[in-house]
C-alpha cells in the first residue's frame, strides 16, 4: 500500500525536475506524451538553455555568481558577524598571514615572546631579537617601523626585550637600553612631540647604562614601559594618561617600599605584586569589585581585598582588560571582563599563568594546558593533543597567539594566524564583513526586485490585457511613479526612517520595500507593451476562434510569451537594486554601521588617507560588489540574446 502511494509521487517530482532542467518549464505541461524518447524537437526554453550554456562568458558568469551566492549565504552560518565586536589593537591591519610565524631560531628555546598589538617580538637564547606579524605606519621615518630592528640592536647581545602596542624596548648585556617604534608619546627617547604630557624616560637610562644582572623584569604596555630591578627599584615611563593613569602612584609606592616582585600592564593600568604577596593597584579602583556566587547560587559583588583576606598572591598576569591573581592556596581570581577560569582536574597544581591581550593560559604541574578569556580569534582553542597530561611544560601567551614549548623545544602554536583581507579602522575582520555585508546587500536587492516584479507584472498584465480606461488609469499612475526622482526621494524616505525610532531590522525591511515600490514602473510598461503585442497575434485569434476561455488565453498563451522579457528585466533589475542599496548605504542613508553592507563598507573609505594607505579596506568590498554586478549583467544580457528568437536569425 505504502509503495503504491509513493511511486507516482516520486515520478511526479522527477518529471518536474526534468522539466525544470530540460525545458518546458514555462511551456504547456504536456503530461504523458512528454518523454525523452519521442521528443524530436527541443522546446524553446530548452533551446534557450542550450544556447545560453554554449557561451563561455555567460557560463563563467553563472558559476561565479553561484559561488558568490554560496559564499555570502552559507559563509555567515559558519562565521556570523558580531556587531559589537571591535579590537583596537588590530585596527587597519593589512592582509597577511604571518602573525603566528615563529622564526626558526626561536624554535629551540625562547627567552621571551611578547606582543601587545599586531606584531610580536621574540628574544632567542643567542641574544638576538626577532619581530614578526604586521605593523602599519604612515611615517617615512625608519625607526618608527617596529618591524625594522635597528642595526645596533641586531649587533648587540640582548638580554631583555619586550614589545608594547607600538614600540619595542631591549636591554643588552652591557646594560644599554634600546628603543624603537613610535616615540611621539614618550615611549622611548625625549624626541616625542607630545612628551610634555607624558612621563619621560629616565635620563640615566637614555644616556647611561644600568646593571643588567640586577634587572628582574622588563615589561611594555600600551605606550608605556617599566623596568623592575632586583633591589625593588622601578623605572617606568611612557604615555601614562592612556597607558596607565595610575603609573605615578605605583612609582611612588615602589619608591617608598622598594618591595615589588612583579609588574603587569593592562591596556589602561599598571598593577604590581609585592614580595609579601600583596596586590598593588596604585589607587586604581578598576578591579576593586569581584563578582562571585554566594551559597544560594546568586551573584554578589565583593571587594577584592576583602575576598583575598589574609591569603598571599603568588602570581599576577594582566591581559588588555583583565587581571588574574593566583593565590597561595591555588585559587585563580579573574578580575575584569574575562570569563571565569576553567576547573582543574583533581590534584593538579598550577605552575604558571600567562596572559595574552584578551585571554589567559594556565599550565599545570603535570603539563596540561587550560585557556580562558575572550577567544574570538581562536586564542583559547587549545589543540587537542596539548590538553593531555605531560604535553608541554611552558606556554607563552603573547597578544593573540600562544607558543607551547616542551623541554625547551617548540611544540605547537595556536591563535590568530592573520587576516586574509585585513581589518578595518575598528579592527574588524574585512573577510567576515565582506561575507556578511554581501548577504545584506544581496538580500535587499532580491527583496526589492521581487516587490518591483510583482507590482510591475500585475499592473502591466492588467493594463495590457484589459485596455480601455483601466489601461489609461494604470498607465497614468505608472507615469506619476516614474516621474518621482528616484535617488532624492529614496534619500528623503530613508532619512525619515532614520529619524523615527524604528528598530534596525524593521528599518532595513522598509528600505527594501521602498526600493521595490520606486522601481516597478519600467517593468510595468515593458510587460504592458509585450502583452499588447501578443494579444493581437494570430495564435491568440486562433485560440479564441477555437473557444478557449479568456483565462486560459491570458495565462497559457500570452504569459509564457511575456515571461522571457520579465526574466531578463528581473535579472538586470536585481543588479540595479543592489547598486541602489550600495549607493544609499554609501551616502549614509541605507543600512547603518556597524551592520555591514558592501556600500557602507566603502563609505568609510572616502578620504584620500584611507584610499592611499589602507587599500584593503576599499579594494575587497569594491571587487566583490563589482564582480557580482558584472556577472548579473552578463547573465541578463545573454538571457536577452538567447530568449529573443530574432537574435539567432541575425547571426
Amino acid at each position: 500500500m505504502n509503495n503504491q502511494k509513493k511511486a507516482p509521487k516520486k515520478l511526479f517530482i522527477a518529471e518536474c525536475l526534468q522539466k525544470m532542467f530540460f525545458g518546458n518549464l514555462f511551456g504547456r505541461m504536456r503530461g504523458e506524451e512528454h518523454t525523452v524518447e519521442n521528443e524530436r524537437y527541443d522546446s524553446p526554453s530548452k533551446l534557450a538553455v542550450k544556447r545560453f550554456f554554449r557561451k563561455p562568458l555567460a557560463t563563467t558568469a553563472v558559476i561565479v555568481l553561484l559561488s558568490m551566492f554560496l559564499f555570502v549565504f552559507i559563509g555567515p552560518a559558519f562565521d556570523p558577524v558580531d556587531l559589537s565586536y571591535m579590537e583596537a589593537a588590530h585596527a587597519n591591519v593589512a592582509p597577511n598571514m604571518n602573525m603566528m610565524k615563529l622564526p626558526d631560531s626561536l624554535k629551540d628555546g625562547a627567552v621571551s615572546i611578547t606582543s601587545n598589538g599586531s606584531f610580536t617580538l621574540g628574544l632567542d637564547e643567542e641574544g638576538d631579537v626577532h619581530v614578526w606579524g604586521y605593523y602599519g605606519t604612515t611615517s617615512k621615518e625608519d625607526r618608527v617601523d617596529v618591524m625594522k630592528i635597528p642595526q645596533e640592536v641586531q649587533d648587540a647581545n640582548i638580554r631583555f626585550a619586550a614589545a608594547g602596542s607600538d614600540h619595542c624596548i631591549a636591554i643588552d648585556d652591557k646594560g644599554k637600553v634600546y628603543g624603537w617604534g613610535m616615540y611621539d608619546n614618550a615611549q622611548y627617547s625625549h624626541d616625542g612631540t607630545l612628551i610634555a604630557m607624558c612621563i619621560k624616560q629616565p635620563t640615566e637610562l637614555l644616556n647611561g647604562t644600568l646593571n643588567v644582572d640586577n634587572v628582574k623584569q622588563l615589561i611594555c604596555g600600551n605606550q608605556v614601559t617599566a623596568i623592575l630591578m632586583k633591589d625593588g627599584s622601578l623605572y617606568a615611563w611612557g604615555n601614562d594618561q592612556t597607558g596607565a593613569p595610575n603609573m605615578q602612584a605605583v612609582m611612588k609606592l615602589a619608591k617608598e617600599n622598594a618591595n615589588f616582585d612583579e609588574i603587569a600592564f593592562t591596556n589602561s593600568g599598571m598593577f604590581a605584586l609585592t614580595d609579601e604577596g600583596e596586590f598593588v593597584t596604585g589607587g586604581s579602583a578598576k578591579y576593586d569589585n569581584l563578582q562571585i556566587l554566594d551559597e544560594n547560587g546568586a551573584t554578589k559583588v565583593v571587594n577584592i581585598f576583602d575576598y583575598i583576606g589574609t591569603r598571599k598572591i603568588v602570581d599576577i598576569a594582566a591581559s588588555g582588560d583583565s587581571v588574574v591573581l593566583l593565590t597561595d592556596d591555588s585559587e585563580v581570581i579573574t578580575l575584569g571582563t574575562a570569563t571565569k577560569p576553567p576547573v582543574l582536574a583533581e590534584g593538579e597544581k598550577i605552575v604558571e599563568v600567562s596572559a595574552g591581550t584578551r585571554h589567559f593560559i594556565l599550565v599545570t604541574d603535570n603539563g596540561k594546558v587550560y585557556a580562558w578569556g575572550n577567544g574570538k580569534l581562536g586564542q583559547t582553542d587549545v589543540p587537542e593533543q596539548l590538553t593531555v597530561a605531560g604535553a608541554v611544560d611552558t606556554v607563552i601567551a603573547s597578544g593573540f597567539q600562544n607558543y607551547a614549548y616542551k623541554d625547551g623545544e617548540f611544540v605547537d602554536a595556536w591563535g590568530l594566524k592573520g587576516y586574509v583581507f585585513g581589518t578595518d579602522n575598528m579592527g574588524r575582520d574585512i573577510f567576515n564583513r565582506v561575507m556578511n555585508g554581501g548577504r545584506m546587500t544581496m538580500t535587499i536587492g532580491a527583496v526589492a526586485v521581487i516587490v518591483a516584479t510583482i507590482i510591475g507584472v500585475i499592473i502591466g498584465c492588467i493594463s495590457g490585457y484589459f485596455g480601455g480606461w483601466v489601461d489609461m488609469f494604470l498607465m497614468r499612475v505608472t507615469e506619476i511613479f516614474g516621474a518621482i526622482p528616484f535617488l532624492p526621494f529614496a534619500l528623503v524616505l530613508s532619512s525619515i526612517l532614520q529619524a523615527s525610532n524604528l528598530n534596525e531590522d524593521t528599518r532595513i525591511f522598509i528600505i527594501m520595500i521602498i526600493l521595490g515600490l520606486l522601481s516597478w514602473t519600467g517593468l510595468a510598461r515593458l510587460v504592458r507593451g509585450q502583452v499588447l503585442a501578443e494579444r493581437e497575434k494570430e495564435f491568440v485569434t486562433a485560440a479564441k476562434s477555437m473557444g478557449v476561455s479568456q483565462r486560459r488565453i491570458a495565462f497559457k498563451h500570452i504569459l509564457p510569451n511575456v515571461i522571457s522579457v520579465i526574466l531578463v528585466s528581473v535579472t538586470l533589475d536585481f543588479a540595479t537594486c543592489m547598486l541602489t542599496e550600495s549607493t544609499l548605504s554609501y551616502l549614509g542613508f541605507g543600512v547603518q554601521l556597524p551592520r555591514p553592507t558592501w556600500g557602507n563598507m566603502l563609505d568609510g573609505c572616502r578620504n584620500s588617507v584611507v584610499i592611499q594607505n589602507y587599500w584593503w579596506r576599499w579594494l575587497f568590498p569594491a571587487i566583490f560588489l563589482s564582480i557580482t554586478v558584472i556577472c548579473i549583467n552578463v547573465i541578463g544580457d545573454t538571457l536577452r540574446d538567447v530568449l529573443d528568437p530574432k537574435s539567432e536569425v541575425e547571426k
Binding site: 532624492p488 528623503v492 529619524a499 549607493t583 554609501y586 551616502l587 578620504n607 554586478v629 558584472i630
Partner: protein
C-alpha cells in the same frame, strides 16, 4: 504638433500638482518640529519664564501655520490659500527659507546650480564625443574582435557603480600620479582672477569630470551601438548599398540619421537625469553643487530646502519627458505626421 505639445503640457501640470502634493506629504511626515528648533535657540532668554517659553512656541507654531491641517498647509505652500491671512507661497515667489544658511532657499541654490549645470554640460559633451564614434565603430564592425573587446569593456563599465569608479580614479590620478587634487573647488586661500581662476577651477573639476565621463561611457556606447545596429539592418540601407553608394555615405548619411532617433532621447533624458545623478559625484568630491546642498540639507535638517530641491527634480524630470516627446517629433517625421 502644437496641439500635441499643449496636450502634453496640460498633462504635465496635473502630474506636477499630484507629485507636489505627494512631496509635501512626505515633507510633513518628517518628525522634525521647526518651531521647536527655533524656540530652543531662545531658551536662555526664557530661562526664568517657562510659561513665556511655551507661549512663544505656540506663537511660532501659529506663525508657521503648523497647526493647520495638511490640505490648508499644502495650499498655503503653493500660495493659493492664505496662512495667517497672508498669501505666501511658491506662486508669490516665496520658495521657503534655509535655516542653515539663514537666507531664502532660492538664493542658496543659485551658485550650486551654476556649478552643477557646468559639470553636467561638460561631462555630457565629453561623453558624447567619445561614445558616438565608438558606438558607430562597434555597430559597423559588429562581431569583430575589437567589437567584442569593447562590448566586454562596456559591460564592466556600466556595472561598476560610480563611487567605485571614483575611488579608483582618486587612487590612480590623485595618489599614484599625483596630478589632480583629491577634492574641493579651488586652491584653498587662492584669489585668482581671469584665466588663472578658470584653470585652477578646471584642475579641481578634472577628476569629477573624468569619473562622470568614465561611468557613463559603458551605458551610452551600448545604446549607440544598439540603435546603429538596428538602423544598419533596415531595408533602406540594403537599397543604398545596392545602388552603389560609398560605404561612408551609407553609414553617416543614411544609417546615422535613422539611428539618431533613439539617441536624441537618450541624450536629453540622460542630461536631465544627471541633475539628480550628480548627487553622488558632488558628495564624493565635495563640489559645491545641488547634490551636495541636497545631502547637507537632509543631514542638517534644513527641510524647506530639501522640499524645494525635490520639486526642482520633479519638474526637471517631467520637462525631460516632455522634451523627449517633442524631440521625437522633430527628429522623426513619421511621429509628427501620425499625431
Amino acid at each position: 504638433m502644437g496641439k500635441y505639445i499643449l496636450k502634453r503640457l496640460g498633462y504635465m501640470a496635473i502630474v506636477t500638482v499630484i507629485l507636489s502634493f505627494l512631496m509635501f506629504v512626505v515633507y510633513t511626515m518628517i518628525p522634525f518640529d521647526r518651531a521647536r528648533a527655533e524656540v530652543e535657540t531662545l531658551k536662555n532668554a526664557y530661562k526664568n519664564n517657562p510659561e513665556g517659553f511655551q507661549q512663544r512656541y505656540e506663537e511660532l507654531r501659529k506663525e508657521m501655520g503648523l497647526d493647520e491641517n495638511i490640505i490648508v498647509r499644502y495650499f498655503g505652500w503653493i500660495g493659493v490659500a492664505p496662512i495667517n491671512g497672508k498669501y505666501q507661497g511658491l506662486l508669490q515667489g516665496d520658495f521657503g527659507y534655509s535655516y542653515i544658511h539663514d537666507r531664502p532657499a532660492q538664493e542658496v541654490l543659485v551658485e550650486p546650480m551654476k556649478n552643477t549645470i557646468f559639470i553636467n554640460l561638460f561631462a555630457t559633451f565629453l561623453a558624447l564625443g567619445i561614445t558616438i564614434p565608438m558606438g558607430i565603430f562597434c555597430a559597423v564592425h559588429r562581431g569583430s574582435k575589437r567589437d567584442t573587446a569593447i562590448q566586454a569593456g562596456t559591460i564592466i563599465g556600466y556595472s561598476i557603480p560610480i563611487f567605485i569608479t571614483a575611488i579608483l580614479c582618486v587612487w590612480f590620478f590623485a595618489i599614484v600620479l599625483g596630478i589632480f587634487p583629491v577634492s574641493g573647488m579651488k586652491t584653498p586661500g587662492s584669489n585668482y582672477t581671469g584665466m588663472k581662476k578658470f584653470f585652477d577651477q578646471m584642475k579641481y573639476m578634472a577628476l569629477p569630470l573624468i569619473v562622470m565621463t568614465l561611468s557613463s561611457l559603458g551605458g551610452m556606447t551600448r545604446y549607440v551601438r544598439a540603435s546603429m545596429t538596428e538602423a544598419l539592418s533596415m531595408d533602406c540601407i540594403r537599397t543604398a548599398r545596392a545602388k552603389g553608394l560609398r560605404e561612408k555615405v551609407v553609414i553617416y548619411s543614411h544609417a546615422w540619421r535613422n539611428a539618431l532617433i533613439p539617441i536624441v532621447t537618450l541624450v536629453i533624458g540622460w542630461f536631465l537625469s544627471i541633475f539628480s545623478g550628480s548627487i553622488m559625484i558632488e558628495n564624493i568630491f565635495g563640489l559645491n553643487g545641488m547634490g551636495l546642498i541636497y545631502i547637507n540639507s537632509l543631514t542638517g535638517k534644513d527641510f524647506e530646502v530639501v522640499l524645494l530641491l525635490q520639486m526642482f527634480y520633479v519638474i526637471v524630470g517631467l520637462l525631460g519627458n516632455l522634451l523627449i516627446d517633442i524631440a521625437y517629433g522633430f527628429v522623426d517625421p513619421r511621429i509628427r505626421v501620425n499625431k
